[in-house]
């Protein structure tokens, strides 16, 4: 089973991300693999451990994106493809999907497995567009899979009142929900071995991606600016004797918050 796992390197959202003058402040950002993509990688590793085969990571991004590939290799992926790309800021899902299509055309694979959306944009479009461009079937947002063979895979999607069970023919595109699994941590040996695993670097023109297809020109949408989310009003805390503070809190709930009017 040959599995391609496209991953995106995103700013670590566990850290404080600041917005200034309509743009994200780069300084102090730290970059990680988008968490849904990590879930996809874990699923891919489980599948190959089960039925054999190899997992290939794929990312489009600047020099520093190679770190995320090496982290994925440390987790256990077999090889990686780095498409060198410096126009991430102007690029939307459509352009990413087009580039991915170009990378994957002519390659052999059974399954493309990735996150249901990227952690930075939350758009959730790239994988679906890619499936369209490649003419492959797709199932999004799975919470479980079973019965993996070279020909097909069974996929489960959660609805409000029932779980949908689907069988998809391969090759195909699957996106994962983070409830699917708990991604493994890299082991000491994994970290050490990652350095020796194949990491293929690709320039855009080598795969026939023209200037018109990438960056702002290749994108259908444009981000005008980033606004700060409205900050929450500061809460009120009460200190001192419990009977007193509870009374004060109750009074404010009635008089100011009109909560218990």
């Amino acid at each position: 089973m040959e599995i391609i796992v496209p991953i995106k390197q995103v700013p670590d959202v566990a850290l404080n991300i600041k917005v200034k003058d309509g743009a994200v402040v780069e300084e102090g950002l730290s970059y990680v693999i988008s968490s849904w993509d990590e879930t996809a990688l874990e699923a891919a590793l489980q599948i190959t451990e089960d039925v054999g085969g190899e997992v290939t990571l794929l990312t489009i991004g600047p020099e520093k994106a190679a770190e995320s590939l090496r982290k994925g290799l440390a987790m256990g992926a077999h090889k990686a493809i780095h498409v060198k790309y410096n126009e991430a800021k102007q690029t939307d899902s459509f352009a990413y999907a087009k580039i991915l299509q170009k990378v994957l055309e002519g390659r052999e694979y059974d399954l493309i497995l990735t996150g249901k959306q990227a952690q930075d944009t939350d758009a959730g479009l790239t994988a679906s567009m890619l499936a369209e461009f490649l003419g492959l079937p797709q199932v999004t947002n799975i919470i479980r899979f079973s019965d993996v063979s070279e020909q097909s895979i069974t996929l489960y999607r959660k609805g409000d009142h029932a779980t949908e069970v689907l069988e998809m023919e391969l090759p195909g595109v699957v996106t994962v929900n983070d409830s699917l699994n708990e991604p493994r941590l890299a082991s000491m040996r994994g970290i050490m071995m990652a350095k020796k695993k194949p990491l293929e670097e690709i320039e855009l023109d080598a795969i026939g991606v023209s200037v018109e297809m990438s960056g702002a020109q290749g994108s259908m949408t444009e981000v005008l600016q980033y606004d700060k989310p409205e900050s929450r009003k500061e809460g009120k805390s009460f200190e001192g004797d419990e009977t007193e503070t509870v009374k004060q809190a109750m009074e404010l709930l009635v008089s100011e918050a009109k909560f218990l009017a």
Partner: protein, 398 residues
């Protein structure tokens, strides 16, 4: 009713002593000052207590240093740590598990022999073990000649160990608070006011405070704070990284340090392995962790402990270290500015020093006289060529 570990206060207009920095050293200084009856004291911390090295270190304690000055000072600190849990009524989880410094060449072992002899002369328990003896105590270690740097011997220091670093910070904070010290978090010192050669106050984001004494206890930020009073001391700040693994059954009963391989590790009571390297080679204020650190740590630790190959790395982080040319601290009044003291230069090794550092700094400020114990750490030593060379004993693995 829930009780706070320390109280919040309005910032007063005046204190006798302002301590800049809410790490273990600043808080210990406040605690011991209060013990001497000086309680009109404010600890000003730009972020939260333990934001600096005190909340990021790997908590190795020991006193097997190289110079007479160093050994005596760190041994006093270890002695204070011994009784600290009782004194502060707080479980600090001090685990005296013994400390190995491995030597991977004849030259390295001979350096360790010097340290063992210096230690013994000053009643610090520390001696040399050969590879067979090491293997008995660390059954998983590879002492064959397979590794690139085979183990030739070790300095073993039974009183060394590890402690719970956050607990030390919180316990000193609570102790100081109970004695009347005011702790102010989210209070950044933006300037220091000097009038006629005397420090008379500080400017903070919460207003200006006047005082008689200002003590800078900011470790990795020491150059920045000294800049505010135009004092240039030989601090250079480097990042230092660490990592922690998932929890495993207890298997490693001692702290292990290898200077040659640039690594160290210990196992906490919770079962995690706490691991670190030497400092990042470039000066920097960024506290970012890197993949390069993970790769180099993994490669080196597997040379020593091949059994660790499947151990999973849980988390990594970085902190700042204020290195000095001789790897010894600066604890000193600054002659040019009356009432201004500097406590810094704690590098990669300062956590173990917090009690003695706080204790002696408090004595120095309260009595207006530098205690003999820390006299060697005056800043003039660089101009006077009296370095306290601890590089061989202080680097890697703190």
């Amino acid at each position: 009713m829930t009780q706070r570990m320390w109280k919040n206060h309005e910032l007063k207009k005046n204190y006798d002593v302002v301590i800049i920095g809410g790490g273990a050293h600043g808080l210990a200084t406040a605690y011991y000052l209060a013990q001497l009856g000086i309680t009109n004291v404010a600890v000003l911390e730009q972020k939260y207590l333990g934001y600096g090295g005190s909340g990021r270190n790997t908590a190795i304690l020991r006193s097997n240093y190289r110079t007479e000055e160093g050994i005596k000072f760190y041994d006093q600190s270890l002695g204070l740590y011994e009784d600290l849990a009782g004194e502060l009524d707080f479980n600090l989880m001090f685990s005296r598990q013994g400390h190995f410094t491995l030597g991977h060449s004849t030259a390295a072992v001979s350096g360790l022999v010097t340290r063992a002899e210096n230690n013994k002369a000053l009643n610090v328990d520390s001696y040399i073990l050969d590879p067979q003896e090491i293997k008995k105590m660390l059954p998983e270690i590879d002492i064959t000649d397979h590794p690139r740097f085979p183990v030739h011997g070790a300095l073993y220091h039974p009183p060394g160990g590890i402690i719970r670093h956050d607990a030390v910070v919180w316990a000193y904070a609570r102790g100081a608070d109970r004695k009347g010290v005011q702790i102010h978090q989210l209070t950044e010192v933006q300037d220091i006011i000097v009038d006629n050669g005397k420090a008379t106050g500080v400017v903070t984001n919460r207003g200006t405070v006047s005082c008689n004494t200002v003590i800078s206890v900011v470790a990795g930020w020491s150059s920045e704070v000294c800049k505010k009073v135009n004092v240039k001391l030989p601090f250079v700040t480097h990042p230092l990284q660490a990592l922690v693994t998932q929890s495993y059954k207890p298997w490693l009963n001692h702290v292990v340090v290898s200077g040659t391989l640039h690594i160290y590790l210990s196992q906490t009571d919770r079962g995690e392995l706490v691991c670190g390297n030497g400092i990042d080679t470039y000066p920097h204020y960024g506290m970012r962790s890197t993949l390069g650190f993970l790769e180099s740590y993994a490669a080196h630790v597997l040379e020593l402990f091949p059994v660790l190959h499947n151990v999973a790395v849980q988390r990594q982080w970085a902190g700042l270290c204020d290195m000095t040319p001789d790897y010894s601290p600066i604890i000193s009044p600054i002659d040019e500015i009356n009432g201004f003291y500097v406590n810094g230069g704690w590098g990669t090794y300062g956590f173990k020093a917090a009690p003695a550092s706080g204790y002696n700094t408090a004595q120095m400020v309260a009595n207006g006289k530098t205690p003999e114990m820390i006299e060697p750490f005056r800043y003039n030593r660089f101009a006077e060529n009296r370095l306290v060379g601890e590089k061989a004993a202080a680097s890697v693995g703190s």
